[in-house]
């Protein structure tokens, strides 16, 4: 019993030692292909697998599941993305406009001003649900993933381009328009 296990242990140890020494000498070269889209990616994986990150990056698709980006000119401020978000990381405030503001690049009519369009990347779980529901496809995931900061507030990305003054002006416009409408209703 003891002899049998001893011999077996010795043989398996030798087998393992040969395996590791093959890898030790195999480390003279690194794997040849980093991009999974390559034709023979899986046949070129021998050798060191390390990717020395800041100096060397793995190729990723242009629209991968990384940080969000909003093309604010195409946004109709429908709030669907904020409603779809499971972690509530999107914060939108809309201001109604008395008349049509313009059209997005796909022809949808814009009737709301985005007073605030903040995405908290610290909360975001990169599920991509917001990009799915967006009717104008203005919110997309990008290939940017290496944002680091010393202040948490820097991770709240603001996409609204409206200044405080402009927000104030648009609000006043809307209140004025509503007041006019009320006044028009009261008139017989």
């Amino acid at each position: 019993m003891v002899i049998k296990t001893t011999i077996q242990g010795f043989l398996t140890a030798v087998k393992g030692l040969f395996l590791t020494v093959r890898h030790l000498f195999g480390a003279r070269k690194s794997r040849a292909s980093l991009d999974i889209r390559d034709e023979d990616y899986f046949t070129q994986q021998n050798g060191v697998t390390t990717v020395q990150y800041p100096k060397q990056k793995m190729p990723i698709p242009e629209v991968a599941r990384y940080q969000l980006d909003v093309e604010i000119d195409d946004c109709i401020v429908c709030d669907l993305c904020a409603k779809a978000c499971p972690v509530d990381c999107i914060d939108i405030q809309a201001i109604k406009s008395p008349e049509v503001i313009g059209k997005t690049s796909d022809g949808s009519v814009k009737r709301l001003y985005p007073a605030k369009f903040d995405i908290d990347m610290a909360k975001c779980m990169y599920c991509g649900l917001c990009t799915v529901v967006c009717p104008t496809e203005c919110i997309t995931m990008t290939n940017q993933y290496d944002r680091s900061t010393q202040q948490l507030a820097d991770l709240i990305y603001g996409f609204s381009e409206m200044s405080d003054h402009e927000v104030q002006q648009r609000k006043e416009e809307w209140t004025k328009f509503q007041a006019e409408k009320e006044a028009a209703k009261k008139k017989p």
């Binding site: 030692l17 890898h23 060191v48």
Partner: protein
């Protein structure tokens, strides 16, 4: 006066060598670990991470002395000194080249076995003094392991000493090369006294000595708490074992002791079994390779080269084999290595009587 200077210079030289070796070995270990696991190892500090270990030691030297408030302050602070001292003293009887030996004593081998055993006490002091259950568990395991494995180490050394008939490490080294005072027989039948080289090494002087060397090597791995016998440290179970609470320069000394111990057992195996400072190249007819490659410089080169090879094998084993369970460790020692060592001991006796005379 000259004597006194020699007595001061030699330990400093050995310490410098140990420190340099540790810096190199830690780097080598991390690189080997990396390559075995298809990684690169340290790459950032200097070209190919070459100054990584120097940066590490500078960091350790700057650190604060922290003693846990519940620790036994005296034991805690002298344990690293005892552990390192025990290993350091062991180097005093190691021959590096023909007659190039700090202390040429007739009981060199016995002396090494005696002082290196003190290491176990140091580890118990460290574990007990830390007053931490993981440290204590680690040191309890270390004691059980080191005391058990002292026996196969001792038996395998006796098996070799029965062939050499001397405990003087310098004389043992002489008996394995072309300058041997006695006739050397390869496997007991071929006179290689004037051929020398690899054939004259102890492991080839008798067939069972090869087995004895394997026993010695395995047991010495356990003696210096290296993987796969690193249950005293067992990072995954015991945090760091007996050195959990140590930091800064005290930890540096524990680390130094660990690598010094690795080198000590490697060089001891080389001296006893692998020809010490004798060249592996034999004399072939008029091609006097062995004669040409024997001498002070060559001796040091061969000793260091052989020892580094053994240290390399220790690292290779560390990054291959998983850790033994405590009971498997004891089974291996008491049921496999010790009986085998006893058999080899008996064969050594018979070999001395029947073949060598």
């Amino acid at each position: 006066m000259a004597d006194l200077i020699v007595h001061i210079v030699v330990p400093i030289a050995i310490f410098t060598f140990i420190a340099a070796f540790t810096l190199f070995a830690v780097y080598a270990e991390r690189k080997i670990a990396g390559f075995v696991q298809d990684r690169l190892g340290p790459m950032e500090t200097g070209k190919y991470g070459l100054v990584q270990t120097i940066a590490d030691i500078l960091k350790l030297l700057q650190k604060e002395f922290i003693t846990p408030s519940a620790a036994d302050k005296i034991l805690f602070s002298i344990a690293p000194v005892v552990i390192f001292g025990a290993v350091f003293v062991g180097f005093s009887v190691i021959p590096w080249a023909p007659d190039f030996i700090p202390a040429n004593t007739h009981t060199g081998l016995f002396f090494i076995m005696a002082v290196v055993s003190i290491d176990a006490i140091g580890i118990l002091m460290a574990g007990w003094g830390s007053n931490n259950k993981y440290a204590l568990l680690g040191s309890v395991r270390a004691i059980a392991q080191m005391v058990s494995y002292e026996i196969p180490v001792g038996l395998s050394l006796i098996a070799a000493v029965m062939i050499t008939q001397t405990l003087n490490l310098n004389d043992i080294a002489y008996l394995q090369g072309i300058n041997s005072p006695e006739n050397i027989y390869f496997m007991g039948f071929w006179d290689v006294t004037h051929i020398g080289g690899i054939f004259a090494w102890h492991i080839f002087q008798a067939p069972h000595l090869l087995v004895v060397y394997v026993i010695f090597f395995i047991a010495s791995l356990a003696e210096c708490n290296r993987a796969p016998f690193d249950i005293p440290e067992a990072e995954s179970e015991l945090i760091g074992g007996f050195h959990t609470e140590y930091g800064g320069i005290k930890f540096a000394f524990l680390f130094l002791a660990e690598y010094a111990m690795m080198f000590l057992v490697a060089i001891l195996g080389v001296v006893l079994f692998l020809g010490a400072w004798n060249t592996p190249l034999p004399n072939i007819g008029s091609l006097r390779l062995a004669d040409w490659t024997t001498g002070l410089g060559w001796g040091i080169t061969w000793t260091i080269l052989k020892s580094f090879t053994i240290v390399g094998i220790q690292m290779w084993i560390r990054w291959t084999l998983p850790r033994f369970r405590a009971d498997q460790l004891m089974t291996l020692c008491w049921k496999v290595l010790i009986p085998l060592a006893f058999v080899c001991l008996a064969i050594s006796g018979l070999w001395r009587i029947m073949v060598m005379l």
